[in-house]
Symmetry: C2
């Protein structure tokens, strides 16, 4: 028994006339009669009571008609549902993001995703450190991470979003604040504010490495959890912070941003599980690439 039998039976039951039903099904009448007979034989009971003049449903036929309609009504939407998933138009995606992109890239991404894929359920988690995101990705708690390129990339697929120039956030009344730009040597013996957990934040590790390579000593004055706190501390005159370019858009009274000219750019990457081919993810990466490109110009 297959759907053909159900489709044919429904047509005959609705027309109550084999010839008309056959026409509706774009086929000849004899094979239709045959097929219905075959279905009845298979079921073991009559669905229709027929003379050459009148066709009518038996009680069993009425019941079977309802069930057949229900089954047929479930078949096409089944393909549609799965099709929408395949097209990445429905699904669920948890996106993590480092602090520096939380206030520039993430809101743009969220806005674009919600308007382009209204049926996709998104969860955004900002202010996550890169190693945190790597763990969360591996555990499945995160589907997409926006982070600094991490050390351990096993099982992950990384795509560069963009290179970000390094800047420093300086209190307005600091002697360096009048400069056009800053060199690493200018920061020698200055008090620095970094993200908490030297081993846990790629950014603070990066700052540490820069000083080590330059043979300079870094004085860590404060460790903070969030980027906004970092900048607030600078505004309060508690020290200087090295931040990636997008953070320099966080306009806070009392803070001046200057480019750090002699250090390499920091790479912002999108990380996913290497085996995750979810269509929603693919579309999210596409949107991300568009935003990154637009921002560079």
């Amino acid at each position: 028994m297959d759907l053909r039998h159900l489709r044919y039976f429904v047509a005959v039951a609705e027309e109550l006339n084999f010839s008309r039903a056959a026409a509706r099904l774009h086929m000849a009448q004899p094979p239709l009669s045959q097929t219905i007979k075959q279905l009845e034989h298979e079921l073991g009971f009559a669905l229709l009571r027929r003379t050459t003049r009148r066709v009518e449903l038996t009680e069993a036929g009425k019941v079977y008609l309802e069930d057949a309609r229900a089954i047929l009504a479930a078949v096409d939407p089944a393909g549609d549902n799965a099709g929408r998933v395949a097209a990445g138009r429905v699904g669920r995606l948890v996106v993590g993001c480092v602090g520096s992109a939380t206030y520039s890239l993430l809101p743009q991404l969220a806005r674009r995703m919600r308007s382009e894929l209204p049926d996709v359920e998104f969860a955004f988690r900002g202010e996550m450190l890169s190693p945190e995101q790597v763990d969360a990705l591996r555990e499945g708690a995160l589907d997409l991470g926006i982070m600094r390129r991490p050390q351990d990339t096993a099982g992950l697929a990384l795509t560069t979003i963009r290179q970000e120039r390094m800047w420093v956030a300086i209190p307005q009344d600091h002697p360096l604040a009048v400069h056009e730009e800053v060199r690493l040597t200018d920061l020698h013996d200055e008090e620095l504010i970094v993200h908490a957990g030297a081993g846990r934040s790629v950014m603070s590790g990066l700052v540490q490495d820069m000083f080590d390579e330059a043979g300079l000593s870094a004085t860590i004055a404060h460790e903070v959890a969030e980027t906004s706190t970092l900048v607030t501390f600078v505004a309060g005159g508690l020290g200087i912070a090295v931040v990636p370019e997008p953070t320099a858009t966080l306009a806070v009274p009392g803070v001046v941003y200057l480019p750090l000219v002699d250090v390499p750019d920091s790479e912002l990457v999108a990380a996913t599980r290497a085996d995750d081919e979810s269509p929603v993810l693919v579309r999210a990466l596409g949107v991300l690439a568009e935003i990154a490109g637009g921002h560079d110009q």
Copy 2:
């Protein structure tokens, strides 16, 4: 697309291995691969991600699997449901009955039907006059009527249940009560109690006809609505009643039943709509025939 595709896909999705799935489906592996590929082509998206070493479901595949399982799960029970209707094991039947059979035949029928067809919903309406039942049958308010053979049988199918001998119910202290049997002439000038509505009750019409044919005059002392009232009136000495045999089983103190020997038997019939071939009805008629037979012996 037919159920074959769904069955095959579910098998592969559950085994995550084409060879094993093919074995489970009692077929070779190549046609299975072909069919799945064809299904994916038809849907326009991939259901499975496969290498020669590993087969896994895509996101769309997971969604389609759920829908496919739901559809397949709905297919077999569909036949079962209708099959039970075809076998007359589920359904609904409204049975009407004349007063004289309400207390003997109807309870037996109800008991037998409820035990043999527990899933059939029965409604029994006793104390219905025959013409009332004929109208109710035609309107569809009744599916089966147990009645005296009516005049107008157009569109109805009648089957005789049994012939019932006529008896008289006489007050204990009446002179006739000491007889062994009664003749119609004995009732000349006696006061009679009959069912209400001469034109509406076949039984009272029958009594009237008997007297007319015998050239006797019937004195209608009372008209009542229910058979139990009829007998109660007799017990109260308000007159004599002509009743069919089964009513004589209604033992009421002060009432004596005697056979009425020189009148024809009354025919009790089962009436249905001629075009009603409901399996439940067929089974009900079968049960009715059995009960009638058993009662005759």
